[in-house]
Each structure stands twice: as C-alpha cells, then as structure tokens.
C-alpha cells in the first residue's frame, strides 16, 4: 500500500487542463471503446461491412450524375468519377466522425453516470472508429485508380497530413457539440442540418477553384475545404494547394480543436449531474 498515489478530490475552479498522464493510463479503455464501436457498427445488418463500400459508391454515383452529367462540371486531367470519389471518402470520414462524436456522450450516458474515466475518450473513440470505414473506402479508391490506370505522384506522401487534419477538425467540432448536447438535446435535431450546410460549402462535387478569387480566403476558413482539396491533390495530383490558404485552414482547425477541448473540459465536471 505504501507508495500508493494519493488522489485529492475537491471542487475544481477555473480552466481545466488536459491531464495527459491520466489519459495515458486510460489508453486501454480507449482502445476497447474504439474496438466496441467498430464491432457493433454493422451488427445485425444484412449487408454488414459492405456498407462501408456502398455508401461512398452511392455518393460517387449521385454526385457524378448531378454535378458531372446534369450541371456539367468536369475536371481537367482526372476522370470525374475518381475525382468525386476522393471527395466523398474524405467527406464521409469527417461527417460520420462528427455526427458519431456529437451523439457519443448521450449514447454512453450510462457509462458517464456510473464510472469515472477521462470523458474525452468517448468522442475521440467515436471518431477514430471511423478509420476502419475510411480504410475500406480507401482501398476501393486504389482499385478505382488501378482501373482508370491513374498513377499517383509523390504528393501521396502528404496524405497522412490531411487525414490528421480531418481528425483534428472532427475532434474540435465533436468535442464542442457533444459537450453541449449533454445539456441541450437540440444538437441532435440540428446536427443533420449543420452537416448538410457544411456539405454545400465544401467542394465534394466540384473543385475549390470554382469559387471566385475574392472569396477564396473566406472559403478556406472551412478546414474541410483544405481536407477535400488536399485528398485530391495528394492522391490525384489535381488542383493546387496554395500555402497561405492551407495555413488559414490549419489555423482554423487548431482553433476549433482548442475551443472544443477547453469547453469540453469545462463542462465535463457537470456531465454526470445533467445527463
């Protein structure tokens, strides 16, 4: 017993910081929660994991029909199918991460009111469990690239950076929405619309350079613009990645992340009392 660490519980005041050491101690629970989310995602569905393929494919087909065939968007040097598929894969990873994370605290309410652990791991697990779907869709993208005989260039090395940017952005928004939803259930109702609006201000079916030049800076304040453009740039070498615009997106993503996290840690103390 000697040497056992003393834990002091008292009312906390002011801004809470991330307790990294504690987070590290709970890493196994984090793995288990990710594992559980992956395991039960497609339980009791007829098509099972096939859904991870069907959804991006359906998205690709719909956008090709609407944007390419109906409106007549096309992209130079890249088959439109491939172009939009990259966008859909990145978008789905983001959108599903955000909506999963935003509802994660409520769907794990019984954990929160019964056991202690750093709450941040719940929305984080919800986002990271989406990596499996993402990986499956990514393999499909590679298959499509082979089919279209499209060779990737050296820029593919930057892909992990854009995946990381997606995760950071989703975490920021996920932290923010999930912590608010504990107190205000409105988030659950507003979420589909928020995601829909975000979809339209994100270049999933078109290229970012369709936006007039004077609006570009404002446009790139949406970090997902950078994510989608970045995915295409690194995988298909399509479009350009102006550094100052990337900088704006990354700064906004980091700001969102910090804002979301600080708010989360502040509200965390009351979760069990209000949920």
């Amino acid at each position: 017993m000697t040497g056992a660490e003393e834990i002091i519980l008292r009312p906390s005041r002011g801004i809470s910081l991330v307790r990294w050491k504690e987070l590290w101690q709970y890493r196994e629970l984090f793995y288990f929660l990710v594992w559980r989310d992956i395991k039960i995602r497609y339980k009791q569905t007829f098509l099972g994991t096939l859904w991870a393929l069907i959804r991006p494919l359906m998205g690709m087909i719909v956008f090709t029909l609407i944007f390419n065939k109906l409106i007549g968007f096309s992209v130079e040097g890249v088959p439109y199918l491939l172009f939009t598929f990259c966008g859909v894969v990145a978008w789905n990873f983001f959108a599903e991460g955000v909506s999963g994370a935003s509802q994660s605290l409520l769907s794990n309410a019984n954990l929160i009111s019964k056991v202690y652990f750093p709450r941040v791991i719940i929305p984080a697990a919800a986002i990271l469990s989406g990596l499996v779907d993402f990986a499956i869709a990514f393999i499909l993208a590679v298959v499509l690239m082979v089919y279209f005989q499209f060779a990737p260039s050296i820029t593919i090395l930057f892909l992990p950076f854009f995946i990381l940017l997606t995760i950071v952005t989703s975490l920021g928004i996920g932290f923010l929405f999930s912590s608010i939803s504990v107190q205000y259930r409105d988030i659950a109702h507003a979420l589909p619309y928020i995601i829909q609006v975000m979809f339209w201000i994100t270049p999933v079916g078109y290229a970012a350079n369709k936006i007039p030049g004077e609006l570009q800076i404002l446009y790139w304040c949406n970090p997902i613009v950078c994510v989608i453009e970045g995915f295409r740039w690194s995988m298909l070498h399509s479009g350009e990645m102006p550094l100052h615009l990337v900088g704006i997106s990354v700064s906004v993503a980091l700001a969102l992340f910090i804002l979301g996290l600080v708010n989360f840690l502040r509200m965390e103390r009351k979760f069990a009392d209000v949920i």
Binding site: I7, L9, R10, V115, Y184, V274
Partner: protein, 420 residues
C-alpha cells in the same frame, strides 16, 4: 493502520430545477409561454431551489476496513459514492484517497447487447479499470464464477436477466482495487447466487482491502461490517459500532407517536400505484400502537391505482430488531379481487393472534408489479407497534408476564396430555 479515505466537510449541492428545465432550448420557450398563460401565483422560479444532497460530511476509513453506509432513500448515500468514485465533483470539501478505487455502483456498466459474453467480459473489465492482461489472466475464473460457459459466444441480448446479472457480477467481483465501493448490488439474483456473492465479498474484505458497502439490507450490513455510518438528510447522523448505528437507523423516520402513516411524497402520486396511507388497527377499526398477543392486528393500506395492472402486489415486511419476521403480500392469500381498475382500495392484512411474541415490530411496506421488472417500490420502515403478553389468559401467563419466551414468534400450539 493507514487511513485510506479521508473525507473533510464534504458537501454536494444539486439544482433541482435545472434538470428538467434546460433539456432543450424549446423547453425554455415552452415554459415562458406557460408562465404567461398560467393563472396561479406559483412562480416557476421557486423550482430553481437547490438541495444539499450532502452537507458537511466528514469521516475517515482505515485500510482493510469494511464500512457499512446506511440511510433512507435520499439520505445522500449514492451521492457520496458518486463523489468517491469521481463521477461527480463535490461542491465543497476535500476527499483524500490512497490507492486504486473501483466502484460497483451498478454492475454490468457498459455491457453491450450486440457483443458476445466473451467480448463483454473484456469491455466491462476495461471500463471498470482492469488491464487487458489482468482480464486475460482471470478470464477462466470469471467465466467459472458466472456459470455461463455455454453461452460465452452468444450475444448478450439473448441472455436471460439472471445470466446477464451473474456475468456482470462475476467481472466486478474479480476487480482488485485497494478500495471497493459497493451499492446494493446484491439486491437481485437467486438466493444461491446471492450467497456466492456474499462469500466472495467476505473474502475480498478479509484480504485486507477496504470496502464501502451501501445497503438497505441490515442483516447483510451486520454480517459484513463492524463499523457503519448512518447518513440522514445529507449529514452523518451516527457512526461507530454497527449494531448501535443500525438501531439508530431504525428509529429515524418511524412515526414515533402515530399508528398511521400518510404518504406525502408528490413523486409517488404519479406512479401506476401508490400507497396513500397505512394504519395499524385492532379488529374494531381503532388505531393502536400497542397490542396484546391475544389480539388480532390489522394492517390497513389505502391504495390508489392509477394505471391498473393484473399483477399489482401490495404487501409489507415485518421486522423485529432489523431482522425480517416475514414478508406478506395480498396475492399470497387466495381469491383476492385483483387491483385491475383505477380507483382507491382498502387492502387489509390480518396478523392473527398468538403469532407474534412480545416486542417491538416495524413495518416496511412493499409495492410491486410482477412481470414489470423496473417497478418495485420498497419503502423504509415506517410504522412501529408493540406486542405484550396477555397476562389474563391463564395462570401460566401471569407467571410468565415478567419473563418472556425467547423467539420471534409465540404461537399458541396445541399440547395434549393423556394419562396412561
């Protein structure tokens, strides 16, 4: 001896109003609207009041101690455990803990119906704070304890509630924290499994670990703990030797002067069934607190049924010195009219003469709806009556009047004497 839990001036305040009021922005809007259309003077803001679930609680626990925590519903027991297990923060005060703490506030936390028994053991273990290696090492032991070997690879949602519970307790019982918080986990399950759990807890307690044990079952508290703490309205009302604390507990809240108890809990009125009143009477309908063993005793419930259900049961536990004498329910007696229409019913139980021995008895009412798992309302002991031996009955009794028979019951048994 080392102090492992040190609690100083611990307080916790809850805002009652905010829970219901702010679940969505619309509620806020709705309420303003209602306020406008409401004629009564009663201002909604009165609801904004706060309650102190815990107020200035201080005590400490030594290493290896098994401490019982008792108190009526709403006394603050669960809040205390919630603070100790770090689920919620105190409003004031300090707690110092030494060692790994684990709580069984409810076993089976985080169980997922879609996962198999095997998978749930790992998930639940991780949630309760076990390392993966630790779970692997104890896996066989956990499975053996739970008695669900055959269903390990079946999804949990196909389990019976008994199997579910056994698996949950099996995982929890194999935790090895230095401090264990237990809240009424033994309330469910069959007798045999309950015994197994109790002996496991006894074993944990004797292995030098510290246990805080919350229960309404005094016989269990007595069996497992040497020392107990009584919480009443958020404060420590008594602390020390377990028997002394339990007898204090039994006095709190009992109608000391009255032979009638009226339920004034507003929350109960919305239930499917609720007890308005309980009275103890003699056969002539006169309320009394003191009876002779030659009297019949009538326990009369006034019950209001709001939401009829064919299996509603009304009953009570009769206790003497905290030990159950018997439990009885109206359905134990054949050919009762069912409580299947809304309305108010008089439900009477007759405790026959020559059954109870001399002494003080308490009544703990029970309400349950069979087959509705979630509905089982157990009250606290609320009424007390006294039985004395009727000295006028025979010559033998008058001799005995100053010297009671041992035993809980004093039946009038037939003896035959024949000369041969």
């Amino acid at each position: 001896m080392e102090t492992v839990i040190d609690i100083k001036n611990l307080s916790k305040r809850y805002r009652i109003g905010s829970l219901r009021r702010h679940t969505s922005f619309r509620d806020l809007f709705d309420e303003k609207l209602r306020e406008l259309t409401r004629f009564s003077k009663r201002n909604i803001r009165n609801d904004e009041s706060t309650i102190w679930a815990l107020k200035d609680v201080s005590f400490s626990v030594e290493q290896g101690e098994v401490l019982g925590i008792i108190g009526r519903n709403g006394a603050g027991k669960s809040t205390l455990l919630k603070i100790l297990s770090r689920i919620t923060e105190p409003t004031d005060g300090v707690v110092r803990l030494r060692g790994r703490i684990a709580s069984l506030l409810e076993v089976g936390t985080g169980f997922s119906g879609e996962l198999t028994g095997r998978e749930n053991i790992f998930l639940n273990g991780a949630i309760l704070g076990m390392k993966k290696k630790e779970i692997q090492e104890k896996f066989d032991e956990i499975v053996a304890f739970s008695e669900v070997e055959k269903f390990l690879d079946t999804p949990l949602k196909r389990y019976s509630s008994g199997m579910h519970m056994r698996l949950a307790f099996a995982v929890a019982a194999h935790l090895e924290p230095e401090i264990l918080l237990i809240d009424e986990v033994l309330a469910v399950g069959d007798i045999q499994f309950q015994r197994k759990c109790i002996s496991k807890m006894d074993q944990i307690g004797s292995s030098g670990r510290t246990i805080l044990f919350v229960s309404h079952t005094m016989s269990l508290i007595r069996q497992l703990c040497k020392r107990a703490i009584l919480l009443h309205q958020g404060s420590v009302a008594a602390s020390g030797d377990v028997d002394a604390v339990i007898s204090r507990y039994e006095d709190i809240g009992i109608e000391q002067q009255s032979s009638e108890w009226t339920n004034d809990d507003e929350r109960d009125k919305k239930e499917a069934i609720w007890i308005q009143k309980i009275a103890i009477e003699d056969t002539a309908g006169v309320q009394k607190r003191s009876f002779l063993n030659s009297d019949d005793i009538i326990v009369r419930f006034t019950v209001q049924v709001n939401d009829p259900h064919p299996y509603l049961k009304v009953g009570f536990d009769l206790l003497k010195d905290g030990t159950p004498v018997f439990r009885t329910q109206q359905t134990d007696y054949p050919n009762q009219i069912p409580l299947d229409k809304p309305g108010v019913y008089d439900v009477k139980c007759r405790i026959p003469q020559h059954l109870l021995n001399a002494g003080e008895y308490t009544i703990t009412p029970l309400l349950s709806a069979h087959l509705i798992k979630s509905f089982m309302h157990r009250f606290e002991p609320i009424l007390k009556f006294e039985v004395t031996i009727d000295a006028s009955l025979s010559d033998y009794y008058s001799v005995l009047s100053r010297q009671n028979h041992p035993g809980v019951v004093f039946p009038s048994l037939r003896w035959d004497i024949e000369s041969r």
